[in-house]
Symmetry: C2
Subunit: 598 residues, 2 copies
């Protein structure tokens, strides 16, 4: 008999798989328990509190990661604990991946509605004893009479057409993709498209009216693959284990996306089967996991994609539940770590047409950037790590309610603001950036990144600076930023700045030559640009040369959905972009070392 | 707790579904119990003997269908019996659908191997840090260097190619269908095609070496859909109930065919994944069930197909497990009751090129025939019923071991031969035909079909003629042919002869103008032509004008697999054939009445 685990405050209750850990139980029950390392006990993101019941004794690893006070209170790492009886387990907010702020806003680029699908209303002659043509011919010949050379639809559509045409009295709206009939629907049904940006942590989906090009609904959810690791490497390792694991990771995405589409459609009184075309973007790893392409070669040098070209695939073939004949278009990838989302971002920010020197950058666990200069575009990718997502940071968390997202040190006093104005439970990336910048300005942090000064206290063998003290933060103790946290931030910002400098050197220009820096993505939207310049994440430039454009990848996906011209431009863009392998740059080590200074 | 049912001598044992009948239990356990009517209690083909255990009392229907002696011995109709305890059930041989003679032999038509797929051996440059192209581009560019303009393979093939190319050290044999890469395999792997004729009762499959066009292996099995009704109407009704039922009927076929392909490949040391192209033919109903197309409209006037044109579909999309990128081609249908198997038969018998008047005919539950005369081809279909398959015949059975297949009456004495020379258990179609012909010749049957004479005895209110008496046939009693059986045969042969006469009248010729009659199909192969002429199934002609060609539909499928030219000819054939709706012929009733005479 498996033990029953009760996860609170989520309220999910169910059996722990035979011989499984609490993390396994959480995954099986759909509890969105964070797991940055993918369940290998090498991060501490799956911290939970055992409230009742017997479990295995703490491991050495947990003794290292958790304080004695925490262990005494029952805090454990879910991936290392096996239940020995029924248990009640408390999941603290910072260990939940759900409820986070997702990013759906992005700049609107006006584009003429010129989608990749067309439609016609047809009136078809019903069969009689004198007209025994098949339904397939009946449909194609009616379209031919309307001047449309239609080819045989695929089987699913042919099956649906037979049934629908009879139900609709042989009058219908037919959707065509080139010469292929992809959908048969009532004349007055909504005619919708779906644009999606699948990020490593978040998914943004847009429902578009294909006739007008207007966005009717925008929705965000967490990427459900997070349960298998917050960074893509953990997921690639998981998918590489075998076809079942790869299928599970794909299904998580496609089911999540189908669900999201259903909810978004319901909000506007439509059905997901009204969606007749879709565009999906994501980084190369997500792209491959979504399409269930082999990923092993993405995890080892030279990191080549199985498929780099743009892909068109029937939605149903990858398990997406849209109109039965709907196709999904995936923009092309550029390299193993510069994917279709980067192409979409470049498309949305109009990089191809730029004549001035522009740097476009999307900050994340992996940061991609592109420099347009002198009619050339060069992109690279750097492993900036998950520090901005709150991982490997003592009180780090992602941008969920209760996360400290803004910090100022005014006259030595710390002021902060949390997301949702909830009681502080941790610090998210933009908050950390502010802390480091203000510590630096206040002289409590030197250029090498060492914390010093009367406000700096010692705890558990590490120097730390208090953001919210015990009186505010409650039982969990004070919320602090440690010397270790600052080193993590230093590595992250160093990696990104190193990328920027490498691109500038490659083009033979300096930062002051940049006419514009375009910052895309969720993290980039919420950061304080002055803080980013203070710590050297970005080069110092007049603030009006920096624009924060929100989810540009999502905007690019929408453009490729609405407009054939933009879809073609995305192809050309991907061909034109030169990929620079950062690690092969001769000045890489020197750039990186220099970029570490605050 | 469901009751456990033990089916003997098959040796299958398992639970009966809640509230289910013994037929349901047999289906759930994969026992090939016959069920002509599809489980509606209107035929008696699912007769079983309850050996141990309690069951529901005999229904009125069973009292009508079974003798008191049979009921006393525990004989029941499985579709009307629910178990009331664990049971042991004996399935008599004549109630089993398996073990029957299947027909794979057919005339060989020499055709130059010119398949619809091509192959190339390529040597591909592996990725390096200086060559970061995706695997997709790497493959397409290697083919381009070889002068082949290859397009992006589909996702499954791209995924397989990535893995295979690495495993094979970047040297492989690539299969192309037009510009599409459909398979990547070791250079020395077999390069195979699969041709299939799916009949209502039997499936014949052929494994072809695509390079030479040679048939390497031929195999037959029973159509596993038989468990859902022996005639197609019962299956159409079942599939029309809902998507789950339609899916189940499709899966039965595709799983059965995958299994058959696997066994056939194993016999020649190959894998089903070596099969890179396939051609499938069947009647329109089977075609639609196989592709899971809507079938409701096939069951009501005017009986139009959902799809009449030739279909190309990825094998994996319909659940066939061949090479991941393999396509399946289905020849076109002509009408609701003249399907792709008829087209294949016409292709194999070279009807398109005939200048003399030729009648081609495939006798079955539904009999299709085509008259080529004066450069025109006209086809029709007639519902000849299942009498030739042994259904609705007192001792009727299909061509399984123990079936009487040849009968002669010599000097008033009956001589017979059974299939496999086993003890006689019943009579199959060719045996029945002989009985009727010899009774007619011996003067024991008049032209109107009435049995009379000293050898004719009375039993259970019907006249009957003894073929094998109790001393030979054992506990089951004598094997006889009844007046009722003869009426069933009369209807069947009348329907077919009526079709022949209608075609001749339509062309303005008489039977003596026919230069050839081509008889295709399993039943037609085993009948005695003289008997067929004696009873008037076929018009009287010199015997050398009649040829029995075996499974011509299977041969046609092979031709369309081996040769692009033949595949194209099949399309043209289907376009050229004029379909004649028998029931609309003004002389139909008169022809039918006349055709009933012996």
């Amino acid at each position: 008999m498996p033990y029953t685990i009760d996860f609170e405050p989520v309220g999910r209750r169910g059996p722990c798989p035979e011989g499984g850990t609490l993390l396994d139980a959480a995954r099986a029950l759909g509890v969105d328990l964070a797991s940055v390392c993918g369940g290998y006990g090498t991060c501490s993101s799956c911290k939970v509190q055992i409230v009742a019941g017997l479990v295995t004794l703490p491991t050495l690893r947990e003794h290292g990661e958790l304080s004695l006070a925490e262990l005494a209170q029952g805090y454990r790492l879910a991936c290392l604990v096996e239940p020995l009886s029924d248990c009640r387990v408390h999941v603290p907010p910072e260990s939940l991946t759900a409820l986070q702020r997702t990013q759906v806003e992005g700049l609107e680029v006006p584009a003429e509605a010129q989608p990749s699908v067309a439609n016609r209303v047809v009136q078809i002659a019903p069969p009689t004893l004198d007209d025994l043509r098949g339904d397939d011919e009946r449909l194609c010949e009616a379209l031919a009479a309307d001047g449309v050379a239609a080819a045989m639809p695929d089987l699913e559509v042919a099956a649906q057409a037979s049934t629908e045409l009879r139900r609709l009295g042989w009058q219908a709206r037919v959707t065509l993709r080139g010469s292929e009939v992809t959908h048969v629907a009532p004349v007055d049904a909504p005619w919708l498209g779906l644009a999606v940006d699948i990020g490593t942590t978040k998914i943004a989906a847009y429902i578009i009216d294909l006739a007008s090009g207007k966005t009717l609904e925008a929705r965000g959810v967490m990427n459900p693959q997070i349960a298998y690791g917050e960074d893509v490497i953990a997921r690639l390792v998981c998918a590489g284990k075998g076809p079942d694991e790869a299928a599970r990771l794909q299904t998580l995405l496609t089911d999540g996306l189908s669900q999201l589409a259903t909810e978004a459609c319901a909000a506007i009184g439509a059905q997901p089967t009204d969606i007749v075309d879709a565009v999906v973007v994501g980084n190369t790893a997500i792209h491959h996991l979504f399409l269930r392409l082999p990923v092993q070669q993405l995890a080892v040098a030279p990191y080549v994609p199985a498929v780099r070209a743009a892909v068109d695939v029937k939605a149903r073939e990858i398990g997406l539940r849209l109109a039965p004949g709907a196709w999904v278009h995936l923009l092309p990838n550029i390299a193993g770590y510069v994917g279709a989302d980067h192409v979409a971002m470049l498309l949305a920010s109009g990089m191809a047409g730029r004549t001035d020197s522009t740097l476009a950058i999307d900050i994340g666990t992996n940061t991609e950037m592109c420099l347009a200069h002198g009619g050339r575009m060069t992109s690279l990718s750097c492993a900036s790590g998950p520090a901005f997502e709150g991982a490997h940071i003592k009180f780090g968390m992602r941008a969920a309610p209760g996360a400290i997202e803004r910090v100022r040190i005014v006259d030595g006093r710390v002021e902060y603001k949390t997301i949702g104005d909830e009681p502080a439970v941790g610090i998210c990336g933009s908050g950390l950036l502010d802390v480091v910048a203000h510590l630096r300005r206040a002289g409590k942090l030197d250029a090498k990144g060492r914390l010093a000064g009367p406000d700096v206290r010692e705890a558990e063998g590490d120097a730390e600076f208090v953001i919210a003290d015990e009186t505010v933060a409650g039982s969990r103790g004070a919320i602090t930023v440690t010397q270790h946290d600052i080193r993590e931030m230093q590595l992250a910002k160093g990696a990104i700045r190193c990328g920027i400098e490498t691109l500038l050197q490659d083009a033979g220009i300096t930062a002051s030559d940049l006419q514009e820096i375009v910052i895309a993505g969720a993290f980039g939207t919420y950061i304080d640009i002055e803080s980013a310049m203070t710590i050297g994440l970005l080069p110092k430039l007049p603030l009006d040369r920096v624009s924060q454009v929100g989810n540009a990848a999502g905007t690019g996906a929408r453009l490729a959905l609405i407009s054939r011209t933009h879809r073609r431009q995305a192809q050309e863009l991907a061909q034109r972009v030169r990929y620079l392998e950062l690690a092969r740059s001769p000045r890489f080590m020197r750039n990186f070392a220099e970029a570490m200074y605050f």
